[in-house]
Symmetry: C2
Subunit: 228 residues, 2 copies
């Protein structure tokens, strides 16, 4: 039994706002009395399942997002840099193999989620900071290596990532997000007395804090988080 | 000459998130060293001009917005209540005559914007709190009366609202918003050294505060604002 409030974070490394949400929640898991559950899922499936369209198809929205992301990344102290061709990266190459890989890492990891956290961060860093590929096996291995995974774990995760079990696990996580009402990521699900309360995007932290009875202390609640 | 930072607020009373943004900015205009310029405009024209679609057409998004609005309205202390049929109210009846009326009031008002502020608030209260009409002349007159406008001003505003001058003024304000990059409302435009920096929605106040070098003190920076 724990008195901690459970918050699930559904995310996909293809989504830049997810990165902001992920880093903020990874900081606050050490500040608020919460149990943060990392839920890697597939944004493409959520967009298709909900019938939502990417915001970037409206020119003014795309231009705004570009600026808003830059501004928010600075404010949240996340080293986010848009890739040269965001459309290519997000919609043509996508993140299916990457999210299967993260799911495989999660399946292997016992007693915590340090590896999932680190490997997710390194994948984001590749795609949303260094404009590098995240679709090839070698790219995934490189990110995992930087994340501190052993060669054995990396090899296993690359192999199992293509298995039916892992594919189904990612599908299930994606469906779970849809069932909560997702139409995009990041999605935060706070389980208030067994009833889920959802927060979409990276601009509801103050409201989330209010709902869980905690205090929002800005993007950097502890200085330890300043360096990724 | 003034050292105040100029912030324009583009809004339409058909938009519930605009109400939240409007009330928060009306509170902070007395707290931050800013000059707030109220810019009534026509959301329908912005959606059409930018090619954007209302978020409510995706079912999960519509359900989320309903909940998010309720939660945010409580947090921001704005007595917002969804009308029985939001689609009818927002898309069938719309706000063209109401925004022309607000524009006509603004055209008449000299030396301030108290009347524009009050009449906008009373129109929002009708549509987004009391589920009342805002399309008929009698409805506009009733809102204006509650807002403290004299019978003479109301009569004049109702008459001039249909004039070419006022129609053009509203069109120009809407076009101005589009030129800044609008794809929805509320839109806040901060003029940083002559270069406009835009903030969309009612979830960037903390970031706006950071950009203008002020402190975000939560939704109620002064208790005087607790009662609308």
């Amino acid at each position: 039994m724990t008195s901690k409030k459970v918050i699930e974070l559904f995310y996909d490394v293809v989504s830049p706002y997810s990165w902001l949400g992920f880093e903020v929640m990874c900081r606050y898991r050490h500040v608020w009395n919460i149990e943060l559950k990392l839920c890697p899922a597939f944004l493409g499936g959520v967009m298709q399942g909900s019938g939502n369209k990417p915001p970037g198809v409206v020119p003014n929205k795309f231009m705004y997002m570009t600026k808003d992301l830059k501004r928010a990344a600075e404010y949240f102290d996340v080293p986010l840099q848009a890739p040269a061709d965001p459309f290519e990266v997000m919609f043509k190459k996508g993140s299916l193999s990457a999210m299967r890989f993260v799911t495989a890492v999660q399946e292997q990891e016992k007693g915590g989620d340090k590896l999932v956290e680190q490997v997710s961060r390194e994948l984001w860093r590749r795609i949303w900071s260094e404009d590098k590929d995240i679709t090839e096996a070698a790219s995934l291995a490189e990110a995992a290596k930087k994340a501190g995974l052993s060669d054995g774990v990396i090899k296993d995760a690359l192999e199992t990532a293509a298995s039916k079990e892992i594919k189904d696990k990612l599908k299930d996580a994606t469906q779970k997000a849809l069932d909560y009402g997702a139409f995009g990521f990041p999605l935060l699900v706070y389980h208030r007395n067994g009833s889920p309360e959802i927060f979409f995007g990276s601009d509801r932290f103050e409201l989330l804090a209010h709902c869980i009875g905690e205090k929002w202390l800005g993007p950097r609640p502890n200085n330890s988080a300043a360096k990724l």
